[in-house]
């Protein structure tokens, strides 16, 4: 089976839009909720804030449990729940929910790590200065962790592109799905190769942008 150039372009364009939809929404959810959960994990583990071993371990267990499920299995397991949220269990929209769940858990751990890399001495100095916890979190913790949060968001978005390739299982579409359907199932090797090249370019560009931004934020530190 041969595709005309125009047909190929259409297929790629649609696939790219689907990948963008899936990855951008789930990334947004990951950054939003993952940061909050990561902050929660950090605050309940740090003696300068609200150290609570039991609550921290429960929260940590939930995050780890989510992360330990392979994405393919997580996706089919949570799709029914996603059905209630987005009204469908097929297509890119349906895949956003499982992608978001996986990405939130992934980013939560990375965000916690970014916060705990902030020098405890700087936090201690802020406490000693009489600043409130809220002010320290907003005014010290976030700015100090920001570059690292950006780096971790880059890692997350690249993992998300990988996960989104599995979305084809539930008709999610996207570039990865295109590669499987045409390149693997229909033996159109050109499509497979083009998809691989596009994915490599996207990942390289994202990595470059993420690193550049993070380095810009870090430029005063060393």
């Amino acid at each position: 089976m041969n595709l005309t150039f125009n047909e190929l372009c259409d297929l790629l364009w649609i696939a790219a839009k689907e990948t963008f939809t899936m990855v951008s929404w789930s990334l947004l959810a990951a950054i939003l909720f993952g940061t909050i959960i990561g902050l929660f994990l950090y605050l309940t583990a740090n003696r300068f804030f609200f150290k609570n071993k039991i609550i921290n371990q429960i929260a940590g267990f939930i995050v780890n449990a989510t992360r330990s499920i392979p994405f393919l299995i997580l996706m089919v397991a949570v799709l029914p729940a996603g059905f209630y949220l987005v009204g469908t269990s097929i297509g890119p929209k349906a895949v956003i929910f499982p992608l978001a769940v996986a990405a939130i858990a992934f980013y939560a751990r990375l965000a916690e790590n970014a916060f705990s890399q902030v020098d405890n001495g700087v936090i201690e100095a802020a406490i000693a200065s009489g600043a409130s916890h809220y002010r320290i979190i907003i005014g010290i913790l976030f700015p100090e962790a920001f570059a690292q949060l950006v780096r971790h968001a880059t890692v997350t978005v690249i993992s998300l592109i990988g996960y989104s390739a599995m979305a084809g299982i539930v008709g999610g579409g996207g570039i990865g799905d295109l590669a499987i359907r045409y390149g693997y199932q229909r033996y159109v090797t050109e499509v497979l190769i083009i998809c691989i090249v596009i994915l490599i370019i996207i990942v390289q560009v994202l990595q470059f942008l993420g690193d550049t931004f993070a380095d810009h934020l870090d430029k005063h530190k060393h």
């Binding site: 020098d119 001495g121 700087v122 201690e124 100095a125 802020a126 406490i127 000693a128 200065s129 009489g130 600043a131 409130s132 002010r135 005014g139 010290i140 700015p143 100090e144 920001f146 570059a147 934020l217 005063h220 530190k221 060393h222």
Partner: protein
């Protein structure tokens, strides 16, 4: 006028529960700090001084005992009251602990805003503080662009931002070279003099104590083993631990072969007060017909007070030597036979 201590530490103990054992970091410590004091706590690492100084601003809480600051039991403070209390008690650290993502200006502005200052008030106060610590041209620099001494000056400006009356120093000069240490100590002295700033500092550096503290507590294994004013502590240490820890006589230890070849009586003289600067030894030796041979010695100055330490060999008739020693004792010279 009754002089009420600004800080009263009463029978404070701090214990930590680690997985396997209970650690007694501070054991039943009691001392007072008066307004205008530069109070030093010296001890080797692990002596508990870091924990002790943190109990003063509630970064650590005592397991038992009580701390009063300005007559208020600080264990009763919480929330807004604790914040207000901390605004008036600044702290500086060995590693400076400045936020790396903030400029010098932003680091200081942060604590001013934390105390509710806004807009112009923040701006002018930051400038005032930077001028005070000699960094008025560094407002827009990031900590990474500053030297250690400059970072500590920012730390001091930040600590005093909200008109702190007390400054806690946690090994504040331990990461600095000797010249920078001297400059920072001079600044602390000046702040103490000009603003009646009360300073509580912990250190393992004997020089820091000698240079600026008026009162000192020597700490070992969580306990205060000796507490006195600085001059008295160095001139007449009461405890063996203090004597060895402060290295009081180390500078005048004689090499063994010299010591073995000494024929006369070997004594150590410790001059205190103004007699350190008088020719007492020469005059007394002439009167008693004893010859002396100086083998080692130095004079140290603590602010305006001199402390002399001499090791001499006395040659003469035993009676005359006894007479000389008595004469020196009459002049308040402390004599120790070390032959």
């Amino acid at each position: 006028m009754i002089n009420i201590p600004l800080i009263q530490v009463k029978n404070v103990s701090v214990t930590f529960q680690s997985k396997k054992q209970t650690i007694h970091a501070v054991k039943d410590v009691t001392f007072d700090v008066y307004e205008g004091d530069i109070f030093g706590i010296i001890g080797s690492s692990g002596a508990g001084k870091s924990t002790l100084v943190r109990t003063l601003n509630r970064l650590a809480d005592p397991t038992s005992g009580e701390i009063d600051v300005n007559g208020v039991n600080i264990a009763t403070l919480s929330g807004k009251a604790l914040q207000n209390f901390r605004f008036k008690m600044g702290m500086i650290f060995q590693n400076f602990n400045l936020a790396a993502s903030k400029t010098v200006y932003e680091n200081i502005a942060f604590v001013l805003k934390a105390a509710g200052k806004k807009g112009e008030a923040v701006k002018s106060r930051v400038q005032e503080l930077l001028t005070l610590v000699g960094l008025s041209d560094k407002a827009d620099a990031y900590p990474a662009e500053l030297s250690g001494g400059q970072k500590q000056r920012v730390g001091i400006a930040r600590a005093l931002a909200n008109d702190a009356k007390i400054l806690l120093c946690d090994e504040a000069t331990s990461a600095l070279d000797p010249q920078t240490t001297t400059a920072i100590l001079e600044l602390l002295k000046q702040l103490n003099r000009d603003f009646k700033l009360t300073i509580v500092l912990i250190t393992h550096e004997i020089d820091v104590i000698k240079k600026i503290c008026n009162r000192v507590a020597v700490m070992s294994n969580g306990k205060i083993v000796e507490l006195n004013d600085t001059f008295a502590l160095f001139s007449q240490p009461q405890q063996a631990f203090t004597q060895s820890f402060l290295n009081v006589d180390e500078n005048t230890l004689l090499p063994d072969n010299i010591k073995n070849n000494v024929k006369g009586t070997l004594i150590r003289l410790r001059y205190i007060h103004e007699n350190a600067t008088q020719p007492i030894l020469y005059q007394s030796a002439q009167l008693t017909h004893v010859e002396f041979n100086i083998l080692h010695g130095f004079i140290e100055y603590f602010n305006d007070r001199a402390l002399g330490n001499l090791v001499v060999e006395l040659i003469g008739k035993p009676d005359n030597i006894q007479a000389l020693i008595q004469l020196l004792k009459d002049h308040d010279v402390i004599i120790e036979d070390i032959s």
